[in-house]
Amino acid sequence: MEKRVRFDSQVLPWMLVAPQLAICAVFFFWPAAQALLQSMQVQDSFGLSTEWVGLDNFKTLFNDSAYLESFQVTAVFSLLVAVLGISLSLMLAIFADRVVRGALFYKTMLIIPYAVAPVVTGVLWVFMFSPSIGVVAFGLDRFFGFQWNHLLDSTHAMTMIVTAAVWKQISYNFLFFLAGLQSIPKSLIEAAAIDGARPWRRFWTIQFPLLSPTTFFLLVINMVYAFFDTFAIIDATTHGGPGRDTAILVYKVYQDGFKGGDLGGSAAQSTVLMLIVITLTVLQFKFVEKKVNY
């Protein structure tokens, strides 16, 4: 879409976009280019000499079992977060769509986790799940005889970060599903009801299929969220442990590059991450275009 009527000026538009472009150039493009460049270089430990090594850093990376493990951890983590978060929020949205009395109260309560910082969520989880003093750990032991210890057991650690990440993301998914459900024409539902379809049947044959663009969109968004925005949760709770069992890719980049000082290796990791974001963003926008036609 284009405007028919415009203003004529050659200088003014550049002045208007200058602040945005300057920030993009200095803090986005230059560092990203540096990361790309460094991913093909090796520096000695004093940073005095730099050697051009081509794709060697990537070869090392993909032969490193720790890195491949981290890939696997990230895949498991983001899949769990996306699937659990989406199904839980879909269920809540379906019932919220039916409820009339108290709807505003329920909705208000359910959007609060969106406002809570991931790291604060992490701190709350550390407190609740602490094997020695946490209420949840205590409750699990008292009522189910279950010994909780996320410091030793990697399944427990994974459960902990998945539940924290899902809790925080419920609001977002819930609001999108609710908006999606409310945009389905009432006449469709009524027609099905006249034909004798009960609520359960109507959900699977009408609402769920019509929600599929929303679901797909949320799937991509939740993957991005699990990949990148959960760094703070992991940094506050498990620190990637026990061992490396919850060290997702973003956490590993931070540990290796920023803390560990392996410039070339971490730049190569950054480059891989960039490719992942690009793929996910392209997927997301492909979907947006489709939705416009739909």
Binding site: F29, Q34, I112, V119, L124, I133, A179, A232
Partner: protein
């Protein structure tokens, strides 16, 4: 609703209440813990109803008088840093995005498409994928431990620019023609006609960007080195470094409640714009 089904209605309420309980439980625990002494919390199980040390704990946290094994920096200072940072990021993003969207929609200039793509590409370069080089740029510019360092690198916004662009495209062309006939230049048109029309979009973005700014973690963690410039979300992470029994959990939880409060208030009070903004920006 299509038909009345009492059982299903009751079941729906039951599910909603369960959902609310799941959401509220951690918040409730945090609040309870912030009203007890640290000894009371270390008792297993901790008390489940509010205690009488509310003011004591919050004042101790604000002034940094806790005795935990981790960091004990004053939370009042952190809240101030968070507030300034979040507001500068929010208004900075809105201002520069309004200007760039205005340029992209209302002017025809060489490389316009390229500018559009340059802004778009920033979506694909989150801080997480360029940690070390961005740190280097900011430290070379002498911006570590400054408000500028905490805010400026985060101010570029593709989503806000697209939202405004989308909105400007729906503004009728007749308005521009009318403004021109009345002799208004582009900036006059922007200020007197476009800005007042954009109020709703600005409100929607305000909520989303304020929460984004307040909750930033990785970037402040890198761009600051001293307690003096920690936003509260970084500060609270430093507080729990003491381990389960070394931490003063009552102070930590008081800090957690205070760190949650401003964004929660913004979301709840501006709910209508928040939902609209979220669905419009799809971010």
């Amino acid at each position: 609703m299509v038909e009345r089904r009492t059982t299903l209605g009751i079941f729906a309420h039951a599910v909603m209440i369960l959902g609310v309980l799941i959401v509220a439980f951690p918040l409730y625990i945090a609040f309870i813990a912030s009203t007890h002494t640290s000894q009371a919390i270390l008792q297993v199980p901790m008390p489940m109803s509010p205690g009488g040390h509310f003011w004591e704990n919050y004042i101790a946290a604000l002034n940094g008088h806790g005795g935990g094994a981790g960091s004990n920096a004053p939370v009042a200072r952190m809240m101030w840093v968070s507030l300034v940072t979040a507001l500068v990021i929010t208004f900075g993003k809105i201002a520069i995005s309004l200007l760039s969207a205005f340029a992209l929609v209302y002017f025809r200039f060489p490389f316009r498409g390229l500018v559009f793509w340059a802004i778009f590409v920033t979506l694909m370069l989150p801080v997480e994928v360029r940690i070390s080089p961005t740190y280097k740029v900011v430290s070379d510019l002498g911006m570590l431990n400054t408000y500028a360092g905490l805010t400026v690198p985060l101010i570029a916004s593709a989503t806000a620019t697209f939202l405004f662009r989308q909105f400007f495209l729906t503004v009728p062309d007749e308005l521009v023609e009318a403004a021109r006939i009345d002799g208004a230049g582009p900036m006059r048109f922007f200020k007197d006609i476009l800005l007042p029309l954009s109020k709703t979009s600005v409100a929607a973005l305000f909520v989303i960007q304020f929460i984004y700014g307040w909750n930033q973690y990785l970037w402040p963690l890198i761009a600051t080195t001293g307690e003096q410039m920690y936003p509260v979300v970084v500060g609270i992470r430093m507080m729990i470094a003491g381990g389960d029994s070394g931490n003063e959990w009552n102070i930590v939880m008081a800090t957690a409640i205070m760190a949650m409060l401003p964004p929660a208030i913004v979301v709840v009070l501006m709910q209508r714009w928040f939902v609209k903004g979220l669905v419009d920006t799809e971010k």
